[in-house]
């Protein structure tokens, strides 16, 4: 109906909403490619449903809230697979009794988002299936992200002594049939790749129902960030996801640069793009070896992959000095320039990787047992993938070709030609194909960028500012579409820092995949989701 250019222009959506919901809309404005709509709190669900059906906005990127002194401001971001426009619904709720209608009835992806907002701000969502605290234990008092929150003493010492069993909650809630068993695959378990708990209801050897419990390393990064200055938060966001920390602190510095209105020099943008793509390769290698270790090649591919990763870590060490937590990019550019001889080493390592890739493919796809373990296991059809809010490789494996680097190009992805790796039937095997394809694409991107790096300064000196305003930047993290939203209110530290993590949404799709599935498939399904608990628990 509307052509591509019209769809790409936020004005079109604002005019449509105005003449559809004239009375309910308080104010509309365009910020960058965001179409921002201020709505009364009672009709948020109505506008969201209309945006989903008519304007076909596909998924909620994130839901957050800002604690202004007199009211709580709810902010919803929705993304559109066809156009770079982000549709933002904002509404004001009063602080003492914030109640709003839940979107889970027509958008199941919003389920966990609303639970997080209930946990952090105490916003009650009517009609939400199980509105329970997500990160913090159930009997925690107070809502941490509110400005007037004073942490009360949580009795963890008594809990430790009395071996407090947290599954009283499940005993009365889930009536177990006689031939069923409730298994906690507890926080310390080899296949979980991190500290979260997978509660599984098992009848014989097949799983009836499975749901994750998270929050075991929730450390309140957003609350801590409100106490630190802008350049001090870089090490904090650097430790969000421990496998792809480069992509997170680069996203943070890009958001702050947008807030300060600073443009990093062109050489810094080149270096950042190259380093981001290297981080994507390392992250996908770690995913591949984790899957191989879980379905059982006795760590042989696990250790070959780690040897491959050591070569990349040497490169990272030469450029920024650390192996895992890089804190490499600064506000206004990059901390240090490329050492000489680094480009040749990078070419060597990429050539080495290209020589070893077919060997890893042999080890995995060669054996018939791999196909037996991964073909049509944990399948997410195209509709359920979009409905459940899957992100990145999980989405592209279910035949959806959506990539932020193509739709809304940032840094240098606009003038680099690469194509999106997708696969058809959304099972563990197609996720394997998507990620292996993405590694090849990343190698292509780096090879295009290497010989075109311009000379010039790599960093622009930026004096600390006291910005007033907001900035929203989204990028393509190895796990999916990640975004950050900073609100500055004229002080040296940010008033509110929102972190949108793709692995959080991917983890919330696990209940859709664990419906009457043999017990041994849990390992393959959990490994295919590529979880990074540091980023999920924030």
């Amino acid at each position: 109906m509307a052509t591509k250019e019209v769809l790409a222009n936020p004005e079109y959506y604002l005019t449509e909403t105005k003449n559809k919901f004239g009375d309910v809309i308080e104010e509309t404005k365009v910020v960058g490619n965001q179409a921002v709509v201020y709505v009364k709190s009672s009709s948020v669900a109505k506008v969201a449903r209309w945006a989903k059906e008519e304007m076909n906005f596909k998924q909620p990127i994130w839901l957050t809230a800002i604690d202004n002194k007199d009211n709580l401001e709810l902010v919803y971001f929705f993304n559109h697979f066809g156009s770079p426009v982000i549709y933002t619904i904002r509404s004001f709720l009063d602080r003492d009794n914030p109640v709003v209608e839940s979107l889970t009835s027509f958008w199941p992806a919003a389920n966990w988002l609303e639970r997080e907002m209930y946990d952090m701000f105490g916003i009650k969502f009517e009609g939400h299936p199980n509105l329970r605290r997500l990160y913090l234990p159930d009997d925690w008092e107070g809502y941490p992200l509110r400005k007037d929150y004073v942490p009360k003493e949580y009795p963890w010492k008594e809990r430790v002594e009395s071996y407090y069993d947290s599954n009283e909650y499940y005993k009365e809630h889930f009536k177990l049939a006689d031939n069923e068993m409730l298994i906690h695959m507890g926080p310390q378990h080899p296949i979980l790749h991190g500290t979260w708990k997978l509660m599984v209801r098992v009848r014989g050897d097949t799983i009836v129902e499975g749901w994750p419990e998270i929050g075991y390393i929730h450390r309140g990064t957003e609350k801590l960030a409100e106490g630190l200055r802008y350049e001090q938060i870089i090490p904090l966001t650097d430790r969000l996801c421990y496998v792809s920390s480069m992509s997170w602190h680069t996203l943070y510095t890009m958001t702050v640069e947008k807030l300060f209105g600073v443009e990093p020099p062109i050489r810094a943008q080149y270096i950042r793009t190259i380093v981001l793509e290297m981080q994507r390769i390392v992250s996908h290698i770690i995913w591949l070896i984790a899957l191989a270790a879980d379905i059982g090649t006795y760590h042989s591919l696990f250790l070959y992959g780690l040897r491959e990763r050591e070569k990349f870590l040497d490169l990272f060490e030469q450029i920024c000095g650390a192996r895992l937590t890089y804190t490499y990019s600064r506000i206004g550019g990059v901390a240090k320039d490329i050492p000489d001889g680094w480009i040749e080493k990078l070419k060597e390592t990429l050539a080495d990787l290209e020589r070893h890739m077919p060997e890893y493919r042999d080890l995995m796809e060669g054996s018939e047992l791999f196909h037996m373990r991964t073909r049509n296991v944990g399948t997410l059809s195209r509709e359920t993938a979009i409905e459940a809010g899957a992100r990145g490789p999980m989405l592209r494996a279910s035949n959806v070709s959506y990539d932020v680097r193509k739709i809304d190009p940032y840094l240098l992805y606009g003038d680099v030609d690469f194509d999106i790796a997708t696969a058809k039937d959304g099972d563990v095997y197609s996720r394997y194909l998507v990620r292996m394809g993405e590694v090849e694409e990343s190698i292509r991107i780096i090879q295009q960028l290497i010989d075109k790096i311009p000379s010039g300064e790599y960093r622009k000196k930026v004096s600390p500012k006291k910005p007033v305003g907001e900035a929203f930047v989204r990028t393509e993290d190895p796990r999916g579409e990640s975004a950050m939203f900073i609100v500055g209110r004229g002080t040296f530290n940010p008033y509110r820092l929102m972190i949108a993590t793709p692995a959080y949404m991917n983890l919330s799709t696990i209940p859709y995949m664990l419906k009457n599935v043999p017990f041994a498939d849990v390992a393959a399904i959990v490994a295919s989701v590529d979880l990074c608990m540091g980023e999920i628990d924030k």
């Binding site: 040497d314 650390a322 804190t327 080890l363």
Partner: protein
Amino acid sequence: MTNPIRVIIRMLRPLKATGKYLVKKPFTVMYPYEKLKVADRFRGVLYYEIEKCIGCGLCVRACPNKTLELVAPPENPDLDITNPKERIKARIAFDLGHCLYCNLCVEACPKSCLHPSHEYEVMSLDRFDLVMAPEEFARRKKLSMEERVSRLLDSQYLLGASLGGHYEEEINSITSEYREVKKKMIKNEISYDEYSAKRKELLQKAINIIKRYNEEVHK
């Protein structure tokens, strides 16, 4: 199902992939005997050149995790760091347990007297070994635990926080009490030897607390 013969032939490929490594040289670096050369930008434990330092405290402000703190210099332990004119002579104490190796302080220092060394093999049985007084931080002298506590007695934050918040209130009360006594001595409301007697008594209390921490919690 693809025909079985092709499946069996394809099944041999993983064997080839793993078998190749039987003849290759292992990738291991025999750690204690041959050490890996570290990149020259590697951010190891910090190194502090004490003579270039002007006591401006910019690095203390830049650190996100409060690992550095201005403390009386080695040559004059009774210096009063509260008033700005004397602070020029104060030097930096450092807790290796807090440091994040992010090197924001290295960039913040105008005189560039803080820079990362290539040392990474640090291991300690005793939590309090990781706290360094200025001369230890500059690799000048190895202090025992008692001397280190006496050097750090007038730190506002570092001594208490370095024990992971176990006896933070008691140690902070000791250090604040010591600072009042020092202020009185500077304004010479009390005599020097009365001040040093009080200092010795407070020092002994702090050492007992740290000893208790080592016995009860750590071992």
